[in-house]
Assembly symmetry: C2
Homo-oligomer: 771 residues x 2
């Protein structure tokens, strides 16, 4: 755990430079606008530890898979999020000496991430080896208002010297991925140009042939006055620059404003990119740096009104919840159904791929409640469009007749992960994709989606389950062997309760939706059955038989579901009784020891109880929570959020708070000692869920919002805003009152702590008793 970030309700603040944590800061101070993003690298040269990273949405490289022992069915490649052109780069020379904070005496330093406006700011004063002291103020952003534009302003002040200052502002496409399996370069140069006004580099990815171009314009100001003095252009291979050499006097300030655009073949035809890129830069230059910054900041301010959460009495929690919401909105804006939410977003390379079951299980609820309905719908359409590839993927594993197995990790619908125990066996992901359809429809009421898209996906998934089970003669039930459940600290187990439960649910839900679509849209229904070559009666009978006889392991004596068959055979020792030096076990124990142990990485049985809460009594949830949570090590970033929600539901407020703080400050405090690789973006949606579904008790039941807020002991109050079917409501919770403000959409019915209420637009409901 690291605690070098100052607390502030709207900002991350670092007031001393910690070179040892710089890579961490590069991750958490990252900025992006959904189309592009980058780590918080320094603009000027820095020779210390740093992971330079600039990323462009949708651009990936199918890096040849590296694996010691090939198993039949492994994918050929692992899709890598691609490090792309470095556009922030500046070389600063003071009287011939390169400014490099790794080689200077740093007299003061401040790095600030303004989360309200998505501005990355830095100021410092440094004394170079030659004795020259400079002060620097830098600010940069990726425009949310004009989303192919990025801009930075960099001001150097000569504090104690006269002499020569050189500023070289460059675009550099000579970049590599640190995680390249074979130390390959993934980009091939195409073209470059540079003149006094404009510079551009353009490269293409090997194999995938994505082209990315980046153009720049640089303006220089001395003491506020624009100058072209001493300007040169230089170029090398995929590296172009504008270089300014100036004689300055003590006290002079020099400001560079750099406006860039990055465009890619993800959005443009190859032959239109140069023009698009140049026009973007020209438009940016015409608006000017300050105007660009203003429209960008306003856009963020406006957006915050839809998803901000305010906490009174706990600045650390306030900072953390906003950080989570902020990073999510930098990563994914929901405009494009070909994009998804990568586990590291634009903050690092690790894990590759962009889409895990995290999207459906953890992220969807956030976008359902905080964004227009289309955003969540696009996340669903993403999977709909990949259905063909999911069917191919299942085919590779021996399934047929249109059965689909969605990939564990993907960029374009193809599986690109290669651990057999995950790739082939963590099949519960299919369940989450079906569940997301259910969750979306439950929240939005958009039942049309089922007719046009949802049912087709549900059928393919149910076909998979119907083939993945087999009938056990011994049990006289259907069983599912050889799976890895959500708890990846168990591999190749039989009858994982969560997997069997969600498979059963999928079969039943699909049958139910078939019935609904048959009634509502009989022609489309018949056409779909024809397209899918599906025998209705036979299929429904077979699914019903399997669902009815699905084996769901439980221990009646303890009143708990069994994570998998034979779980109670394990040696059960609570985490609290483990010598802490063993934690995290994933870093200290060999894999077999982890597998044999009872320790749980993330919610497994409890994930099922969270998803299907309505089907279980509070007592059942409590018994299972009390059994499993004490043996859960929460070594997945996705673990604490679900436990917070369930702990809240069963009234264990203390545990709920502990879990919330763990998920909320995971990256800021570097709980898992891995933030330098990038932030845990998808778990941030879980943090939001922990707050709104946990503390806020938000559910949707019978087409209606239900709330059951409580206030953590140490807080003075909080407020959150959510959208629901055309309404936007803000829920304010204080020790003595709950206030609900219905901001738009006319009167609405809400259930508050079990009581049905009608709220008129603008009306505030006050409930004096919190419980």
């Amino acid at each position: 755990m690291k605690q070098f970030i100052k607390t502030d309700p709207w900002k991350l603040v670092e007031t001393t430079f910690h070179p040892e944590y710089h890579a961490n800061s590069e991750s958490i101070f990252s900025i992006g606008n959904g189309k592009m993003g980058q780590r918080a690298n320094f603009e000027e040269d820095y020779s210390g530890d740093s992971l330079r990273g600039n990323y462009v949405a949708g651009i990936y490289y199918p890096d040849k898979t590296r694996v010691g022992w090939w198993k039949n069915g492994y994918p050929e490649y692992f899709a890598k999020v691609l490090n792309a052109v470095n556009w922030i780069g500046l070389h600063i020379k003071i009287n011939g000496e390169l400014l490099d904070l790794n080689k200077c005496e740093i007299l003061n330093f401040e790095r600030v991430l303004d989360m309200q406006h998505s501005l990355l700011k830095r100021r410092f004063t440094a004394r170079l080896a030659n004795g020259n002291e400079v002060s620097v103020e830098a600010v940069r952003f990726y425009s949310l208002a004009d989303d192919e534009i990025g801009a930075l302003s960099y001001t150097v002040k000569a504090e104690n010297f006269d002499g020569k200052v050189e500023i070289e502002s460059y675009l550099d496409f000579n970049v590599v991925n640190q995680d390249s399996n074979y130390d390959q370069r993934f980009w091939e140069p195409i073209s470059q140009e540079i003149n006094g006004d404009y510079g551009q580099v353009k490269s293409v990815t090997k194999k995938t042939n994505f082209i990315v171009a980046c153009g720049m314009h640089n303006s220089l100001f001395v003491n506020g006055d624009r100058t072209e003095a001493g300007k040169e252009v230089t170029e090398q291979n995929q590296l172009v620059s504008h270089k300014f050499s100036l004689q300055v006097s003590q006290g002079d300030t020099i400001t560079l404003e750099k406006i860039i655009s990055t465009v890619s073949t993800f959005y443009y035809e190859a032959d239109q990119m140069d023009e698009a890129c140049r026009k973007n830069v020209e438009r940016g230059v015409a608006k000017g740096f300050d105007a660009l910054k203003k429209e960008h900041a306003l856009k963020w301010e406006e957006n915050w009104t839809h998803y901000d959460i305010e906490i009174e009495g706990d600045v650390s929690a306030q900072q953390a919840i906003r950080f989570n919401i902020f990073q999510l909105n930098q990563t994914y804006t929901g405009k494009d159904d070909r994009l998804n939410i990568g586990p590291k977003g634009f903050t690092g390379e690790k894990y590759g791929g962009s889409t895990y079951w995290d999207t459906e299980a953890y992220c969807l609820p956030f976008y359902l409640s905080t964004a227009p309905q289309d955003v969540a719908r696009n996340l669903l359409l993403y999977r709909y469009k990949h259905l063909g590839k999911a069917i191919e993927n299942a085919g590779k594993l021996g399934f047929n007749s249109g059965a689909a197995l969605y990939p564990m990790v993907t960029m374009n619908g193809e599986e690109c992960h290669n651990e057999w125990e995950i790739t082939f066996e963590e099949v519960h992901r299919n369940g989450a994709i079906a569940y997301a359809i259910f969750d979306y429809v439950r929240y939005t009421g958009d039942r049309e989606y089922l007719i046009d898209y949802g049912l087709e996906v549900l059928i393919a998934i149910s076909r998979f389950w119907a083939q993945r089970v087999h009938f056990s003669q011994v049990k006289q039930q259907y069983v599912i062997h050889g799976v890895t459940g959500p708890n990846e600290f168990e591999n190749n187990v039989n009858n994982n309760w969560y997997t069997n439960f969600i498979a059963k649910w999928c079969l039943n839900y699909t049958s139910e939706i078939m019935e609904e679509v048959k009634t509502k849209a009989p022609q489309k229904y018949t056409a779909l059955l024809g397209k899918l070559n599906l025998n209705e009666t036979e299929t429904l009978n077979s699914w019903a038989e399997i669902a009815d006889k699905m084996h769901l392991p439980e221990d009646k004596e303890r009143g708990i579901y069994l994570q998998q068959e034979g779980f109670l055979d394990k040696e059960i020792i609570p985490v609290a009784d483990l010598d802490p030096k063993h934690l995290p076990i994933v870093q200290n124990w060999s894999w077999d020891r982890i597998l044999r142990s009872c320790y749980i990485k993330q919610a497994d049985v409890l994930q099922g109880l969270y998803f299907f809460e309505d089907q279980f009594s509070k007592e059942t949830i409590k018994r299972n929570f009390d059994y499993y949570e004490p043996i859960t090590v929460h070594e997945s970033s996705l673990s604490p959020c679900v436990h917070c929600i369930l702990a809240s539901a069963i009234g264990n407020e203390e545990k709920a708070y502990e879990m919330f703080m763990r998920t909320a400050r995971l990256d800021i405090d570097d709980f898992n000692n891995d933030t330098e690789d990038g932030c845990h973006i998808t778990s941030m949606a879980g943090t939001w869920g922990a707050f709104v579904k946990g503390f806020g008790g938000m559910r949707v039941q019978n087409d209606q919002l239900s709330l059951a807020p409580f206030l953590p002991k140490s807080w003075k109050g909080y407020a959150f805003t959510i959208g629901f079917r055309g309404h936007w409501i803000t829920v304010k919770v204080k020790p003595d009152a709950i206030t609900i403000i219905n901001k738009e959409g006319g009167p609405m019915q809400v259930t508050l702590h079990g009581k049905d209420l009608t709220i008129q637009e603008g009306e505030n409901i006050l409930a004096h008793a919190l419980h």
Copy 2:
């Protein structure tokens, strides 16, 4: 399956060149002498498909491990059997054109492996593109009599032309391993020299610093007369050659005799290698090619008297059994307790490492019966010497107090395999190492071994088991979770019957041997307990408790042991009912499908019944065999042999014969479509066991040999020879009689088909009834 090898009782014969099978032939025609060996590459240039391979015993490279997803505890490297200097190489030019069978018209071709004398012979006539026709006769060998020497003779006859013949005979150390993980070269050059009489190259392995030198002498004869005419020397980096240019007339024959020596720091100090190498070559040259060949061939002939098996009435079986015995004796001669039996011997690179549990479970019996006692003892000492590293290895996985886990794959005692389901979980290997001690002592009666070495290994292994179990509250028994049994088509299962049984046996056997050593050698016993810091009473009590309460899953209704807990939950479909297009499943099915299926790769429960046959009734063995064999796919080369032995024991002669032929001709007929990578050396010992323990019914019971031979229906007779405690006996089986000849060692007691007999030296026992 391929059937291009002609049958012959003592030879492998290829009478047509099959370029498509050349890599196969390179494997099966391999030669070696225990210290070095090579694939049957052509001497002259060959531009077609070929895997060039020359190997030197004990020389390996710790290649950096390649793995997609690192697990805590994985080894840093995988030891590679190293391709070393190519000494057979000749460039032959006929009137300026390179002789290359890939570019000639081949008028006739014969390749012969003389297994009786370990001679690789080849003759062919080829028409070059320039119309010149040459006949070639080549023969080569690694001397068994003078075991650092290799030699070849290569004769070229000008069939239809006059003109220029050039022969360049070289040593080339510019070699790579095809299986290098990062395409690295593993050798660094040290020195080279060349003069008219002698050439030498010398390189050192990176990291391990093994030095290997190879020296050569070349003599040329024209029509039988030695000549030095037209001789040049050439050299490049680690490549030296003698080049002869001659004018010949039609009908002339030119013969090159090349005598080489390979020496390494495995046997010499670095500063003595040059001299040793040169002296070896000088000695070889002094003896001359013919004399070298003769003493080598005689040595092989002599050795065959100890292990030959003769079969009447089935040349295919005769050829196959000799091939298996021949390859084993080329690979391992048992002189050096630092060496072991690599899975591919000197016939290929694949798998790396040199030692698997194959040695103890499959190879030891062969050497016990066919070689002096020291050979088997050296195989045991090899593991004794690695005990410290096995304790370290267990330590890495969290075991303590002197518990040992022997590596799955090793070269020097360190684990070098990296699949968690194998490396960490296939722990039954520990049992085989204990079993080998038992097996060795049972066969030899050498109980001193237990006092000086065996007990220490047994204690360390038992300490491992005592920590690897845990007590199941549910079962009120000890259980072993998370293992892979011998059947590697199941991973991470609980309570594999074989593993639990052998663990229990280890604990009991170790306790028993402690008692014996305590009585026989009380001082050594006390010293050992002190060295091992072992509390006798506490340990023995704990081991007894665990052994008594070990869970051994069984199905009482069917009267079978369960391969693992829950096995009967699987869908059981006999292999015979599978569409053959699915076979081999390892090449056609994804890993999860294999794991879920009931199909067994190699004997698992049956391996236990084979090892501990005495503890089970014939009916129990039969019930288990009849249950498990039909669902066994035998996709491990180690599978058929054990099934042959058990089938024989339960009187299923037809199945025994089927299994024997499958194991015996595995490589010759390329059953598994992988012989081009090298031969399955360790399974060859299983073939021998299938014959002698299967057909011959050989066992050791109560310090006495027991035999129960039967004759496969289609054979007319067979004979095998085995050594036992100073005796050598030959057992001859004919349809109407069994003859036992006691060749040396005085009178001996033998059990024949259950009857105790005393056989005087030289006496023949005739038993008219076979059964």
